[in-house]
C-alpha cells in the first residue's frame, strides 16, 4: 500500500476475492444475527400474547387458529385482508416521506378523514351529472387535495407557527372527526333518521368497480402498488429523496448546504397527506360507498406502527402492512368464535413494535 501511495491502488484478483469473502461472511453473520433478533422478538411477543389470553381465560391456540382462519382461511377473508391492506399501505408509504425528514405526522388519521370528506362532497355534487367516470376521477383529485390540505395546515403550523407537528396533527385529527360527525348529523344527514350509520349511500354508478366475488377494487390495488414503486423511485433516485434524507439526518448541515428544511417539510407533508387522502377516497368510493363516523378505521395510527416496525423501509412496509391487515381481519372472528374482544390484534401489533424496539436497542447497547 505504502509503496503505491502516489499511484493507483493495486487491484489484485486474489485480494478482492478475499475481501468479497470477508464481506460475505460478515453479511452472513449480520443476517444470522438479524434472524436471531427476529426470532427473539417473535418469542417475546408470542409469550406476552399467550399470557394475556390466559389472563382473559381464553384458549390461546384456538385464538391463534381463528385469527389465521379468519384472515387467510378462504378467498373471501383474503379479499377482506387486501381491502384493509390497500389504505394501510397508502398511508404507510406516505408516512415514509415524513419520517425520512424527521417529522412525526400523527395527523395522518385526520388526513384520511379529510380525503373521505372531500371525496364525498365531490360525489354528492356530481351525483346527477350522468358522468360517473368523470365524477369518480374528480373525486380522486378531491380526496388527494383534501388530505394534502389538512397535512399542509399541520405543516404550516410547524414551520410558521412553531407548533410541534404531533400536537398540531392530533388537534386536527379531532377537528376532522368533529367535522365528519357534524356533516353526518347536520347538512348531509339521511332523510328521516340521522344516525351513526352515516350518510345516504351513493348511487351504484359511483361505486368503484370490484372484481366479482372478491370485492376488491382493482383500481385501489393498482394505486397502492403504484404508490409503493413511485415512493421507492422518488426516495432513491431523485434529488427530492436525497434532500429529504439529508435534512432528516442533519437539518443544520443541510441548511448550510443551501437546502431549505421548511420547504422540504411542507413537501413531505404534502406527499403524506395526499396519499392518506387517497386512502380516504378509496374507503369512501371502494368500500363503504358513503361517509361514516369511523371512516378512517384507525388506519392512520396503525400505519404509524407499520412504518416503525418496518424500520422506515419502503419495501418492508407493505409486508408489515399485510401482516397487520391479517391480524385486524382475523381478529374479527374472535367475538363470534370465542367471545373475546377483537382488540387482541392491537395488543399483538403494539407488543410487536415495542419488542422490536427493545431488542434493537438492546443489541446496539451490547455491541458498544
Amino acid at each position: 500500500m505504502l509503496m503505491n501511495w502516489g499511484g493507483r491502488l493495486p487491484v489484485n484478483v486474489t485480494d478482492s476475492s478475499k475481501i468479497n469473502q470477508m464481506q460475505l461472511s460478515k453479511s452472513l453473520l449480520s443476517g444470522f444475527k438479524l434472524l436471531l433478533n427476529g426470532l427473539l422478538t417473535l418469542t417475546v411477543v408470542f409469550c406476552f400474547t399467550t399470557l394475556i389470553l390466559l389472563i382473559a381465560g381464553a384458549p390461546p391456540l384456538a385464538a391463534y387458529y381463528h385469527i389465521f382462519k379468519g384472515s387467510l382461511g378462504s378467498w373471501i377473508t383474503f379479499g377482506h385482508v387486501v381491502k384493509t391492506w390497500i389504505p394501510l399501505t397508502l398511508c404507510s408509504t406516505g408516512l415514509i416521506y415524513t419520517f425520512r425528514i424527521g417529522l412525526w405526522n400523527i395527523g395522518v388519521e385526520g388526513q384520511i378523514m379529510m380525503g373521505a370528506v372531500f371525496s364525498t362532497a365531490m360525489l354528492r355534487w356530481g351525483a346527477d351529472w350522468n358522468q360517473p367516470f368523470g365524477v369518480i376521477g374528480l373525486a380522486y383529485g378531491a380526496g388527494i387535495s383534501g388530505g394534502a390540505m389538512w397535512a399542509i395546515i399541520a405543516g404550516f403550523l410547524k414551520t410558521k407557527g412553531g407548533v410541534n407537528e404531533i400536537f398540531a396533527g392530533l388537534g386536527l385529527n379531532f377537528v376532522a372527526q368533529g367535522l365528519i360527525l357534524w356533516l353526518i348529523f347536520g347538512p348531509w344527514r339521511r332523510p328521516g333518521v340521522a344516525s351513526m350509520s352515516g350518510t345516504e349511500p351513493f348511487p351504484y354508478e359511483l361505486w368503484l368497480s370490484n372484481w366479482p366475488g372478491l370485492r376488491i377494487a382493482p383500481a385501489g390495488l393498482a394505486l397502492a402498488i403504484g404508490a409503493i414503486f413511485l415512493t421507492a423511485l422518488i426516495l432513491k433516485y431523485t434529488r427530492i429523496g436525497l434532500n429529504l434524507k439529508a435534512i432528516g439526518n442533519n437539518a443544520q448541515a443541510a441548511r448550510l448546504f443551501g437546502l431549505n428544511p421548511k420547504h422540504h417539510m411542507l413537501l413531505a407533508m404534502l406527499f403524506a397527506g395526499g396519499l392518506a387522502g387517497l386512502a380516504g377516497n378509496i374507503q369512501v368510493t371502494g368500500i363503504y360507498h358513503r361517509l361514516l363516523p369511523a371512516i378512517s378505521s384507525n388506519y392512520g395510527y396503525l400505519a404509524l406502527m407499520v412504518v416503525m416496525l418496518a424500520n422506515y423501509n419502503i419495501w418492508a412496509a407493505p409486508l408489515v402492512a399485510f401482516f397487520f391487515a391479517c391480524l385486524n381481519v382475523g381478529s374479527i372472528q374472535l367475538p363470534m368464535a370465542l367471545r373475546l374482544d377483537s382488540s387482541l390484534s392491537g395488543v399483538i401489533q403494539g407488543s410487536l413494535v415495542l419488542a422490536t424496539l427493545a431488542v434493537q436497542a438492546w443489541r446496539v447497547k451490547r455491541n458498544k
Binding site: V163, A168, G346, G350, W362
Partner: protein, 337 residues
C-alpha cells in the same frame, strides 16, 4: 364530552349557577389529576404520550379490581400501579435504551387501549361499586362556595388538593427544585450531585401513578362502570394538550381543565337552547384552542412581536398570559451519565 354528559343531563331543566359550577368542578376532576400528573412527568424531561391508553387501562383495572374485591381503595391503588407501570415503560425505554419517548408512548397509547378493551370485556356493563358523595360537614353550609367546592365525593376533593400540593412541591421545596433542574439541564444537575436517571424514573412513575388514579376516578366516580366505549376516550389527549396550554405550570394546567369542563357543560346547555348548533363544535373546542395557544406561545418568544405589542396593552397581557416554555431537556433521550 361524554364524561360530563350524565351530570349535565340531570340539570338541563334549570340552569342554576351554583350547580353549574359544581358540575364543572366535578367533571374536571379526572382531567385535572391527569394533567397534573403529566406536568410532573414532563417537568423531569419525560413526555409520556401514552395518557389516552393509560387512562382507559387503569379505568378498566380499577373497575375490575373494585368489582372483584368490593374495595374502592384497592381499585384506586391498582389503577395507580398500572399507570405507574406504563409510565415506567416509557421512562425505561428512554433512559436506558435510548428509544424515542414519542414513539414508545404512541405505541403504548394504542396498545393500552386495546388491552383495556380486551381484558375488560367480561366486566362491561356490570353494576359495580362507586364512590359515594361525601359532603364536608359545616363547610357545605357556606352559601354558593359550599355547594361548588364542598359537596362532592373524595376524588374531587383530591383533585382540588392536588393543585395546591403539586404547586407547593414543584416550586417551594428542594425536591421540586431538583425535579426542575433535571428537566432543564440534566448534565448540570449531574455535576451538582443529582442522579438525573433516578429522578426522571421516579417522577415518571409518580406522574404515571396520578394518571392511573385519574382513570380510576372515571370508572369509579365520574362515569361509573366499564364498557366499550367507556366515555374516557380522548381525555388523555386533552390532558396532554392542557399541560402545554398551562405552560408546564400545574395551576395553569388545572385552570385550563376547568375552562374546558366549563365549555363542555355550556355546550350541552347550548344544545338545548339552540337545537341547531352543532354539538361537535363544543366537543372538539379544546383542540383548536390548544393549537392557538401553541402559536401564541411561539409568537411570545419573538422579539418582533414583542416590539409590535409594546403599545397595545391588551395584546401584551394576552401574550404574557400564554407565554411559557417547555423544560429544556423535554423528550431528549440517553442522558450522559
Amino acid at each position: 364530552m361524554p364524561t360530563l354528559h350524565f351530570i349535565a343531563t340531570t340539570m338541563i331543566s334549570d340552569l342554576n349557577l351554583t350547580i353549574l359550577f359544581a358540575s364543572v368542578i366535578a367533571g374536571a376532576a379526572p382531567v385535572v389529576i391527569a394533567a397534573i400528573g403529566e406536568t410532573i412527568t414532563e417537568k423531569a424531561g419525560i413526555i409520556n404520550l401514552s395518557l389516552d391508553g393509560t387512562i382507559l387501562l387503569s379505568a378498566m383495572t380499577a373497575f375490575a379490581v373494585a368489582y372483584e374485591t368490593d374495595s374502592l381503595l384497592l381499585g384506586f391503588g391498582a389503577a395507580g400501579i398500572v399507570g405507574a407501570c406504563v409510565a415506567g415503560i416509557v421512562a425505561l425505554f428512554s433512559i436506558y435504551l435510548g428509544q424515542s419517548q414519542v414513539a414508545v408512548g404512541f405505541v403504548l397509547t394504542l396498545m393500552c387501549r386495546d388491552l383495556a378493551y380486551f381484558l375488560g370485556n367480561p366486566y362491561s356493563r356490570l353494576q359495580g361499586p362507586q364512590a359515594s358523595p361525601l359532603p364536608l360537614p359545616f363547610l357545605k353550609e357556606i352559601p354558593f362556595l359550599g355547594t361548588v367546592f364542598c359537596n362532592h365525593n373524595l376524588p374531587v376533593y383530591l383533585s382540588l388538593a392536588l393543585i395546591f400540593i403539586s404547586w407547593q412541591y414543584i416550586y417551594r421545596t428542594s425536591y421540586g427544585l431538583k425535579l426542575r433542574s433535571v428537566g432543564e439541564n440534566p448534565e448540570a444537575s449531574f455535576v451538582r450531585g443529582i442522579n438525573p436517571r433516578k429522578i426522571q424514573l421516579t417522577y415518571a412513575l409518580c406522574g404515571g401513578f396520578l394518571v392511573g388514579i385519574s382513570g380510576a376516578v372515571f370508572s369509579l366516580a365520574i362515569k361509573p362502570g366499564w364498557g366499550r366505549p367507556q366515555g374516557a376516550e380522548g381525555v388523555g389527549w386533552i390532558a396532554l394538550a392542557l399541560v402545554i396550554f398551562g405552560g408546564w405550570h400545574p395551576i395553569r394546567a388545572a385552570a385550563g381543565a376547568y375552562f374546558f369542563s366549563f365549555l363542555q357543560v355550556i355546550g350541552i346547555h347550548a344544545q338545548t337552547w339552540l337545537p341547531n348548533a352543532p354539538a361537535q363544535v363544543f366537543q372538539v373546542a379544546p383542540f383548536p384552542l390548544m393549537i392557538f395557544t401553541l402559536v401564541l406561545m411561539h409568537l411570545a418568544q419573538k422579539e418582533a412581536v414583542l416590539n409590535w405589542t409594546e403599545e397595545k396593552a391588551w395584546l401584551r397581557t394576552l401574550i404574557r398570559m400564554f407565554s411559557g416554555t417547555a423544560p429544556q431537556s423535554l423528550g431528549k433521550t440517553e442522558i450522559s451519565n
